[in-house]
Each structure stands twice: as C-alpha cells, then as structure tokens.
C-alpha cells in the first residue's frame, strides 16, 4: 500500500476526470480503432475508387493520374467481360455444389445429432475454416495430379470412361482433371464448404419438427416434405451461406492459379495487372466488379430475409 500512495492521486484524478467526461473517454477509446479502420481502411477504399479512375499510358507504361472513366470503360472489352462472366458462373456453380454437399451434414447436425455429437461436429466443421486454406488447396493439387490418388481411384474403380467423358465435355472439361474447370470446381466446393454448413445447419435447427411431422401425417412422402416444407424454411440459411461461397469464389486468386488451365478469372487477373503488368488502375477497376456484384447480391439477400440466419 505504501508503495502505491505516490501514484494513486494522479491515477485517481485521471479516472475521476474520465468518469465525469464520458465524451472524452469515448474519444480516447475509439480513436485508435477509428484511425485504423476509418482513416486507413476507409481511406484505402477511397483510394481504390480513385485508382480505378487513373489510367495506364500504353507507350510509356506510366500511370497517368488524371481522373477519367477510361479504365472503367475497358471493363466492357470482350476479353474482360468474358472473365467476369466466367468467374460469376463459377461462383454460382460452386454455391450450388456447396449447398448440395452441405445439406446432409447440416441436417444431421440440426436434427439428429446428440448435443455432444453436435459440439464435436461443429468443431470439426469450424477447424478447416480457420486453418490455412492455401495448404488445403495444395493438398488438392497433390490429389488431382496426373499420377495422383484421384486418378489412381478412377483407375481402380474402372471409371476411366466416365472421367474421359466428363473431361471431354465442352466448358467444364480439359486435358486432365487438374487442368479443368471441373477440378477447379471440386476444389472451390471443398474449400468453402464449412461456410455453407454452419448457417444452413443453424437455419435447419429452427425448422419445427411439428411441421415435418404434420407434412408426413398428411400423406407427403419425404421428397415432397423436403421440397414443400424443409427447403423453403431453410432458404434464409442457404442464402446466408451462399453469400460467403459466392463472394469468396469471386475474389479468390489462389485456386485458379494452382488448379485449372491458365484461363483468367477475376482474382488472377487482378493479381497480374497490379504486379508484372504494372496496370494498377485496371486491377483496381476489375476488383470493383466483385464489390458491385456482392452489393447487388446482398441487397437481394436482405429482401429474402437471409440476415436473420447469419
């Protein structure tokens, strides 16, 4: 006690002052966070917009800091529109894939698992979400390699014909599974799956058993109960999950660089433009595309009531 008597008066005065002046206290509490998120992060978003209004001088390779819509206009070039369409289509396909694969586990977690089991499953689904996703993508590169385990299984199960047929298909095919959109789709679905399972299971938990029982009692077979009762009630959860799967696919550059042929998606395109191509304005303009698509998506999702399921 004797040691502290020296410092107490000053500390006391400070805390008493702050207690009497909550406004000042508030400013002190908020200013570091606001400096980081408001000034640096918010400012960077503004810089992103500004950067997309600059343009690259073709001949000198220098960035001209004049404000114009030239760079944004370049997004409507055929090649750029193709990239946007391809990425959006992949995001949609990945979202559907995630929803289908996530459903059984989400339903089991919500309706059948014991509380203990539920905690365990919850942790098992959560772990991959927090662990390094680059590592998880690399593991797929190993699995899908030409002599790798995927082709080994296909060979052992005598499914070569099926695989060749799938790879021969227009759009999704390619010379090998690791160089096809099909392979890329599998890896995307795998990587974002936990983001779909969690909100879906939360939504399914809120579907009252009495409704599914009633549907069955009234003569509906399970597929009909699923379609008419479970699916509509689980929709907010599905939409909530799709926000993640869609947004993450739109903005990713790791998976399209590691798996697939070198056809451009938004992510790798942005990476190339800001790096070796030295066209930061075009990179900034292109990265506004996922931002715009997600804004529209979120407005739609809000109308569908998906935010209550988050």
């Amino acid at each position: 006690m004797a040691v502290a008597t020296e410092t107490i008066p000053i500390a006391r005065r400070v805390s008493a002052f702050l207690y009497r002046h909550p406004g000042i206290k508030l400013v002190l509490l908020l200013s570091p966070g606001l400096a980081l998120l408001g000034v640096i992060y918010g400012g960077s978003l503004a810089a992103l917009l500004l950067q997309s209004l600059y343009r690259l001088e073709e001949f000198t390779g220098l960035i001209v800091r004049d404000v114009s819509l030239d760079t944004l206009g370049q997004l409507t070039d055929r090649a750029h529109l193709d990239i946007i369409a391809r990425t959006t289509a992949m995001a949609a396909a990945v979202t559907i894939g995630c929803a289908v694969v996530a459903f059984p586990l989400a339903y089991y977690m919500a309706k059948f698992a014991s509380p203990r089991m539920k905690t365990l499953l919850y942790l098992l689904v959560l772990m991959p979400l927090w662990s390094n996703y680059l590592v998880r993508v690399i593991s797929w590169k190993l699995i899908l390699a030409q002599e790798g385990i995927f082709n080994w299984f296909v060979d052992k199960l005598a499914l070569d014909g099926v695989l060749r047929w799938a790879l021969g298909a227009p759009m999704i095919g390619g010379p090998s599974i690791s160089q096809s959109f099909l392979g890329m789709w599998i890896v995307f679905v795998y990587t974002w799956l936990p983001f779909m399972i969690l909100p879906l299971s939360a939504a399914l938990e809120r579907v009252p058993d009495s409704l599914t029982d009633a549907s069955g009692d009234l003569g509906a077979r399970p597929p009909m109960t699923f379609r008419k009762v479970i699916l509509p009630l689980a929709l907010p959860g599905l939409i909530a999950g799709s926000i993640f799967t869609f947004s993450l696919t739109l903005g990713d550059f790791i998976i399209p660089s590691v798996i697939g042929n070198s056809t451009f998606f938004i992510g790798p395109f942005v990476l190339l433009q800001q790096g070796t191509a030295g066209n930061l304005p075009l990179a900034a303009a292109m990265s506004l595309v996922p931002l715009a698509i997600m804004t529209l998506y979120l407005l739609g999702a809000r109308r569908a009531g998906a935010f209550e399921a988050l």
């Binding site: 960077s44 960035i63 059984p104 689904v125 979400l129 550059f253 590691v258």
Partner: protein, 275 residues
C-alpha cells in the same frame, strides 16, 4: 430410423471429404519423388525435412510471419478491446456505423481489401515494409478480438467496475483485479485466433508485402518451382501445426460462451454486424 441412418452415412462422408485431403499432404511430405506425386508413393523418406531446415529463405519467411502475427495480435488486442469497451458502455451517434466498419474488412472479398491497401500505398508512395503487412492484417483481425470482448462485456455486470472504484481502487487496480480476470479468456481466445489468422493470411498480404515473403507467400511461390516439391509439403505441415494449436486452444476457451465465439468469422458476414 431408416432415414437417419442414411443421413448418418452421408454426414460421415462429408466429414471425410473435409479431412481426407489434409492427410494427403502429410503423406507427400515423406515421398521420395522430387517432382511427381505418384500414388501410392514409391518409398518414404524424411530427407525433405532436412532440406527444408537447411533453406534460409524458409527460416527468414517464418521469422517474418511470426513477427507480423505477434505485432498484429498486439494491435488487435488493444484496438479491439478499446472499441468493444466504447460500444458496450455508451450509446452515441454512429454506434451502428462502428459495428459495420469493424466487420467490413472481413465481409469484403480479401482481394478488395488487398487492392484497396495497395492503391493507397501506390498513391501515397509508401515503401513496402513489415508495417504495410501489419496494417493490412490489423484491419481484419481487430474484429475478432472486438467480437470476443464485446460478448464477454455483455455477460459482465457493469456495476463490478463501479463497485471497485467506489471501494477506493485506482483505475489500474480496477483494471488489474476486476477487468482483466473477467476479460482474460475472451482476450486470450481472441488473441489466439487473431494470431492464427494473421500467420495464415495470403490474399491481403500478397498486395501489401511487395518483395517480402511471409511463410504462406513462400509456399505459394514455391508451388510454381518444379524442384524439390515435397519441401513445400513439409512447410505446409508446419503451418498447419502452428495454426491448429492456437485454434484448438481458442475453441476450448470459447466453449460455453453463447454461440461459441470462435464462430465470429463465419457469422460476422456482410450486414451480420456484431450484434
């Protein structure tokens, strides 16, 4: 229960699908082949661990990643708890906007955050450094601590602090004996998660690192080098282990907390806010 049985098998298959690939990377850290991934591997060896240990670039990247993660965690802890304290105790104009601002960096696609920071780095002519990486990581880890601490504040009675001050404790004593013990596990869980998230991050880092290599960036660039491929797998295993430990610890600490605060990341989606 016929249907429950089918569902159980399907659920097991999904869990298997989630975990099987990780085991493969462990297997291929031991393969003898330097440039292919034949299954089953022709033979197993531990020599790649030695090769990895002898590579100074890997140690350099590890050191950078650990430094960045440590500083980021410290910033996230301080900024996140201060903001949580402000939002919890007082109602003020723009309080909702703060909740929104905090989740924005993880709600937006990482590439948007990355290129936004890259744009201001370019416009302000800031040289790339440890600090450009740290600032990038701090933007999306503050929310983790913020969510954890805010949830704990809400369960804690505000009268505890007032009682302590009334009984004559100094601000420091109140902080040391009342606030810290109450917030302890929330801070620890938030800090561990922030550390894991920062240690792992690659998307935003790619745009804020310049020529510097964090461990994930080293791994990513090594994917495009044809030689000694299993070394990449050795480093990948190391990253999995370094991040799995804090995550599991945080999950243990967060158990019993409403909704499990470790879920802050998937649930703090766009518009989801930190309610």
């Amino acid at each position: 229960m016929g249907r429950g049985w089918g569902l159980r098998v399907a659920s097991g298959a999904v869990i298997l699908f989630l975990y099987f690939p990780i085991t493969i990377i462990f297997l291929y850290a031991f393969t003898t082949e330097a440039a292919a991934f034949t299954f089953p591997p022709p033979a197993l060896t531990t020599r790649w661990f030695g090769v990895a240990a002898d590579n100074p670039a890997i140690w350099e990247a590890l050191r950078l990643s650990l430094t960045v993660a440590a500083i980021t965690t410290a910033i996230a802890l301080v900024f996140g708890s201060l903001m949580a304290a402000a939002v919890y105790r007082t109602r003020f104009f723009g309080r909702e906007a703060i909740s929104f601002l905090v989740v924005l960096p993880i709600a937006l696609p990482g590439i948007v955050t990355g290129i936004a920071l890259r744009s201001s780095i370019a416009i302000l002519d800031v040289p790339f450094s440890l600090w450009t990486i740290v600032i990038g990581h701090a933007t999306f880890t503050v929310v983790i601590v913020y969510n954890n601490v805010l949830a704990r504040f809400r369960r804690m009675s505000p009268s505890l602090v007032e009682a302590s001050m009334d009984l004559g404790a100094s601000g420091w004593q109140t902080f040391r004996h009342i606030l810290l013990p109450n917030l302890g596990t929330a801070l620890l869980a938030g800090g561990l998660l922030a550390f894991a998230l920062s240690f792992d991050e690659i998307i935003v880092t790619t745009f804020t690192a310049g020529q510097q290599q964090t461990l994930p960036i080293w791994i990513f660039s090594s994917l495009f080098r044809p030689r000694a491929r299993p070394v990449t797998n050795v480093v990948a295993i190391m990253v999995v282990l370094v991040t799995a430990i804090p995550i599991l610890l945080a999950a243990r600490l967060a158990r019993g907390e409403s909704g499990g605060r470790i879920g802050a990341r998937p649930t703090a989606g766009p518009g989801g806010g930190a309610q």
